[in-house]
């Protein structure tokens, strides 16, 4: 009888702590939905951010704030695409290099540096991108500068996920290619990378979901813009930058919640997508 009671107490604790662990995310989503849902309509996705005067008039009339966050959404997507174009090929190649040279001296140094890079505060990366790109290439705040800062953040994540994914492929698959006389570079390109494709995609999606909410490096590089900008040499807005701007404007507090809800939903979507991809194709 004592055994059964102990079991029940233990089970109770497990459930309690599981609930404590997931409760923050539930509370976050609850708060965002309650506070933000009213602003989410078709205009929210189709119009640029309003100025403070429009917002004030709407507030005083008791209406919802007009306008949306189109400039932020396009800016975020634009910069994520450029950052991915820079970071994914480089990260993939370095990941393959680390996988192929498991215990070599040089590879170990690269791996350690990758780990250190992952720990560099994002604002510092923003500063670096400011000096590399804003001051010397584009001569002003630009989407390119923001993308470079984001790409540096993405790279260590992609490198490590590539290496880990390749490690999961059984050695026998490699040997099968080798036994057919396939040259080494073709084994990597035609066998290893296609076999681990879903894992590599998952790693890239997770890296994107990590950088999509970055604000600090973008303040120093992309700056922000009140219109849709698709010129890499011009300042560009992003959803997290808009959230910061809305927060600083007493008339637009409602938009903080709806933009946050959108950002949260998007990150959640990317995470679920990458999880389901990985589960589906894992060998």
């Amino acid at each position: 009888m004592e055994r059964v009671i102990k079991d029940k107490i233990f089970k109770g604790f497990v459930i309690l702590f599981a609930f404590i662990t997931i409760s923050p995310i539930i509370m976050i989503i609850y708060k965002l939905v309650i506070k933000g849902y009213r602003q989410i309509n078709i205009n929210f996705f189709m119009q640029n951010a309003p100025d403070t005067y429009e917002a004030m008039i709407a507030l005083n009339a008791g209406k919802i704030i007009p306008g949306g966050i189109l400039n932020g959404i396009t800016g975020t997507l634009f910069m994520v695409i450029i950052a991915s174009t820079i970071a994914i090929p480089i990260g993939l190649l370095i990941g393959v290099f680390l996988y192929e040279n498991k215990n070599k001296f040089y590879a170990n140094i690269v791996r350690d540096i990758t780990d250190i890079l992952q720990g560099v505060p994002s604002i510092v990366l923003g500063l670096i991108a400011y000096f590399w790109v804003v001051k010397s290439i584009t001569n002003g705040f630009s989407a390119l500068a923001g993308s470079v800062a984001l790409a540096i953040m993405m790279m260590p994540l992609i490198i490590r996920s590539t290496e880990e994914t390749l490690k999961m492929i059984p050695e026998t698959i490699k040997e099968a290619g080798f036994a057919l006389g396939v040259p080494y570079h073709k084994i990597i390109l035609r066998i290893l990378i296609p076999t681990s494709f879903s894992g590599l995609l998952t790693g890239s999606l997770l890296a994107i979901s990590r950088i999509i909410g970055e604000t600090a490096p973008l303040m120093l590089t992309a700056l922000g813009s009140s219109i849709v900008n698709l010129n890499i040499e011009k300042p560009t807005s992003a959803v997290p930058l808009l959230i910061w701007e809305f927060y600083n404007d007493p008339n637009m507090v409602d938009l903080v919640w709806s933009s946050s809800l959108f950002l949260m939903g998007f990150v959640l979507f990317l995470n679920i997508l990458s999880k389901s991809l990985n589960g589906e194709c894992r060998m």
Binding site: P170, T172, E175, A176, L180, P183, I191
Partner: protein
């Protein structure tokens, strides 16, 4: 001593003074001399860790994948030194099948069979490809089971079917010799029987060298048998003679189950 190792006339494969070490100075295979007869099944048996797989993998230069493995001695394929041939050429002539079925998971059954051509950049006409795929799959008695699902992934097949697919992949190059490294150890008895029957049929056109730790398998299907112990080729002869009347004491002890 001369009775221990049979002399094969006109061998397809001739192994001369072959030694292989994983760590410098520590030999996994020591000074093996043996010939392999054309169109026969030759089994290599012995307890775990005796070097039988290591010996087999030296024959299509698989060890080149791992830079710290050292291979000394010579191996001749039809009197050509294999260490002087190009790696593609040697692997076209000597095919290999592994312990666990390892079809390429991203490729269809069809593509798996012609993977050797595809991955080496050898372009073939569509009807030539179809012909090779059909012939190879018929050779391994898999054609009737998969002919309507050639576009499906190779990994959808059962373990035994996958292993036969892997044999078909090796046959597609029309090799002289097929090396098999414990090809049935991951299969159930029915699948094992199918693979064994298949190998006996294949020896009409190919020379088969098979590593097995299953004595009865060696007795059932091989014409010649090698017994290896601690890296040494202890005894090599006609399977019947070796099983009925072993010369070396260690062979006898192994065959009677004193150790395994």
């Amino acid at each position: 001593m001369k009775d221990l190792i049979i002399k094969i006339e006109n061998p397809v494969l001739d192994i001369k003074n072959l030694s292989i070490s994983y760590n410098k100075g520590k030999y996994a295979v020591t000074n093996v001399n043996a010939g392999v007869k054309k169109n026969s099944v030759t089994a290599i048996m012995g307890p775990s860790g005796c070097g039988k797989s290591t010996l087999l993998r030296a024959i299509n230069r698989m060890h080149e994948l791992y830079p710290n493995i050292e291979v000394k001695g010579k191996i001749f394929l039809n009197n050509n030194d294999i260490f002087l041939m190009s790696s593609i050429e040697i692997r076209r002539k000597i095919g290999m099948v592994f312990q666990r079925p390892n079809p390429f998971p991203t490729m269809s059954i069809y593509d798996n069979v012609i993977a050797g051509y595809k991955l080496n950049g050898i372009r073939l006409k569509k009807n030539k490809k179809d012909e090779i795929v059909e012939k190879s799959l018929k050779d391994v008695v898999l054609w009737n089971e998969v002919k309507n699902s050639l576009k499906k992934k190779g990994t959808f097949l059962s373990g035994g079917q996958q292993q036969r697919l892997c044999i078909a992949r090796a046959l597609a190059f029309k090799p002289d010799v097929i090396l098999l490294d414990e090809p049935t150890s991951a299969l159930d008895p029915i699948a094992t029987k199918k693979v064994e029957q298949l190998l006996i049929k294949l020896k009409e056109n190919y020379t088969i060298l098979l590593v097995t730790h299953n004595m009865s398998q060696a007795a059932r299907m091989s014409d010649y048998s090698m017994f290896m112990y601690l890296g040494e080729l202890v005894e090599y002869g006609k399977t019947k003679k070796l099983f009925i009347n072993p010369v070396d004491k260690r062979t006898e002890e192994y065959l009677t189950g004193k150790f395994s």
